[in-house]
Amino acid sequence: MAQATLDMGVITTVDGTPLKTKLRQAERRNRLRSFGLVFPLLAFIMISFVFPIGDMIFRSVDNPVVAQHLPRTLAALENWDGQEIPDEEVFSVLAQEMRVAAEAREIGKVATRLNYDLPGSRSTITKTARKIRKIEEGPYKEVFIEADKDWGETETWSKLKQVGERYTISYYLAAVDLQRDATGNIISQPENRQIYVPLFLRTLWVSLLITVICLLLAYPIAYLMATLPVRYSNLLIILVLLPFWTSLLVRTTSWIVLLQTEGVLNDILVWIGVISDEGRIQMIYNMTGTIVAMVHILLPFMVLPLFSVMKTISPSYMRAAKSLGATPSRAFWTVYFPNTVPGIGAGSLLVFILAIGYYITPALVGGRTGQLISNFIAFHMQSSLNWGLAAALGGLLLAGVLALYWLYNRVVGIDSMKFG
């Protein structure tokens, strides 16, 4: 412990260093010690979580394939004006590079990449590559155009030039239903390919709807729990916590069992005669299924923050309002409700954040119409293998979520997040 002695107006410790310095040193040591405690987890999260996600998102602009396999062709196209198809010289360079790539079995990658930006061009490349491997030398122009007439179109060439860029924005453009035309102007995708903007909107809309439904369902029961005597409310809390603790897949399974056409609910409806056996209602494998199951899964996230806010509101407020002559509804809206707004904000933001990134439930009970943006990210990750597009969609989703997270932190504060 530093002992202060008074000496010549400057407070120093026993060894003569000024107290200020000593305190600053102690402070720094303390800060380092605090940081030292946090460091292992911070390092772990940075390496195993933040870095991998950053690396994945980087794929949305990274575009090495064509640049790597057709460098000379791209160089030859550098000064091409885009007005007419290139001359024999460019064709022969491309032929040589395609031959090399085909023999190394890499041409498929080039074709796949070009196909993302120019649908249908995969076959143009693979067919031509097969043909080129069979002939020894040029002139190539006729061979190319004979193999696929698309080589006679300037669009093919300008797209080839575009996909040759080492870094690209085309994945982000595709993620918002845009593309570049042959001259580089940004235009919208043809109508039958415009799916992502509607999908983002649908995801936002569904998340909002789920949030509102959760709020409407959570508010009354949170109110009841907050106003009942403890011995009753404890029991009700368990009813909220049990679903919260039960596996997501278990709950999704239950909804399938309940809602499917030959399921419990339809059976009951048939039994009491509301519907006929042939008229069973499709309640799952569509948007209804997604919404019902997700509301059920996310409801506790709304109830708990509301409940913890309502618990702190003294019942005497309402009594005071009533004794001053307010009707019950007026007392509720002017006194009680404003006090619960922080809980509404916390619960709604949390539910909304969790809902827009949901994957499992829509995948299992959403059918064709109940899919959300996450399902398409998974689709491009696992099935279509368009990892660049998956990364771009993921990047947009992540940006949205992080913005909401920031808002949550500003409004609610992550410290106040609690469970159970």
Partner: protein, 284 residues
Amino acid sequence: MAALPPYTTPLERAWHYGFRFICACIFIFLILPILVILPLSFNAEPYFTFTPGMLSLDPEAFSMRWYRDIFENEQWIGSIKNSFIVGFFATVLATFLGTLAALGLSRANMPYRTLIMGILISPMIVPLIITAAGMYFFYTNLGLAQTHLGLILAHTALGTPFVVITVTATLVGFDHSLTRASASLGASPPRTFFKIIVPLIAPGVISGALFALITSFDEVVVVLFLAGFEQRTIPRQMWAGIREQISPTILAVATLLIVFSIVLMTALELLRRRNERMRGIRPS
């Protein structure tokens, strides 16, 4: 329940009971899906609805066959084993790292507290599909995809926010004069740590650990991307079952998982009460 005071008007009375009725419906919505599975998992027939035999409580209509199925099936047994292995190690790691970090974060002089807290909580907020995609490339490059270790590390990352939050919450009301008192009475820092801090934060640590465990136990998206055949966990096996062939075996597994979560929940509730007693908080 408290009887209504005699001066309530009929309208208020109607509203009072109407409100209770609405709440009852919402509670039924919450709990019904969980309850409906329990009896169906004892169905003797491979259907998902109540057979006439079940409704008339005929003992013949009930059977344990789906439970036997689980324990006779190599894949289910393997997945149960994997879930426990991954869950256990991920929980231990997450609890250790998370508790340390929470101790640091709760010290008054922690620099960049909000930012660091934000980063540490982010695994809970970032959509799982993005996490899974990122980890997929990362762990594959390291050769850790399709290993138990990879899965354990991934689940550790996902579990730590819960530990950080619960332990930090325990430390919020922590009275630092206790440690100073201990020090002034001559206890060494380690002694202070184990005699004063540990007992006080233990409930928070344990409930954080339970959350981390349930997170790992319930996680399927990252498993879908990272796990190979040898690392299949219970949720992964259920996922395959639900997508491909939803057999009553799934319901039996679901029932076991419900029982498991009830056990964990009870443990947590007991801890919460103990915690309140220890801090002298009387149940409000």
